[in-house]
Point group: C2
Chain length 136, copies 2
């Protein structure tokens, strides 16, 4: 039940969006708040929860501010494939053909997206018995 456990941790509406933002370089409380437009109290609770689960960690502010920042841990970084897969599925199926697509995955890079195709390295078709791991 690995999937169910994963959903227990990041399966609520906001958590994965927070992780996505963190993966995009967002670090500060008010940046998350502005980006996601959610209430302070639930942002606070979700951040706390993500820290407790070792997905985010608090680090001293890089700008010398008195407050800490929330940075993804290794465990959090490894959620990358999940976010990618979800974003790609959403892009493929949830937009009208004419609709412009804004891509939050690129916010702090200001570069065009690169698409990398992936195929089984032995030529076999991928099926339910395959686990695909994306190595950085």
């Amino acid at each position: 039940m690995a999937t169910a456990r994963a959903l227990d941790v990041i399966g609520d509406w906001w958590s994965l969006l927070i992780v996505r933002d963190a993966l995009n370089g967002i670090r500060r409380f008010n940046e998350f708040e502005r980006s996601l437009g959610l209430a302070k109290n639930i942002l606070s609770s979700r951040l706390k929860r993500l820290v407790e689960h070792g997905i985010l960690e608090t680090v001293p502010a890089s700008d010398g501010s008195a407050y800490s920042e929330y940075a993804p841990t290794e465990k959090g970084l490894k959620l990358f494939p999940v976010v990618i897969a979800l974003a790609q599925w959403g892009t493929e199926f949830l937009f009208e053909p004419s609709e412009p697509i804004s891509c939050p995955l690129d916010v702090d890079h200001h570069q065009p997206l690169r698409r990398i195709k992936v195929q089984a390295n032995d030529g076999r078709e991928l099926g339910p018995a395959d686990i695909v791991s994306i190595t950085r």
Copy 2:
């Protein structure tokens, strides 16, 4: 906001688990019920919702029974990478080292899992600007 839209559709606790089961070959109402252990009413509402969103579709029962089956559409099949990524993350981080891992992705294949490593085909590191697509 492709990610947010995707989560709007499959972001609640049960929907993605239902999709996972459907991807595993589960088709009948009571099979979902047994597999997931959820109340009939919410299973009913989730199935209806997934059908409305074109992720599942009802088809006549293959065994000639009077009831219909729920089968994934193309759109639903394309959620495969999401489920895979989630299952893999959960397997990597959410189990104790000694804990046996049951893998529902393999239920109707009875074969060992194959792990396929994937790398960017031009040698670059993968980052937030990359979209990875998994081709079958």
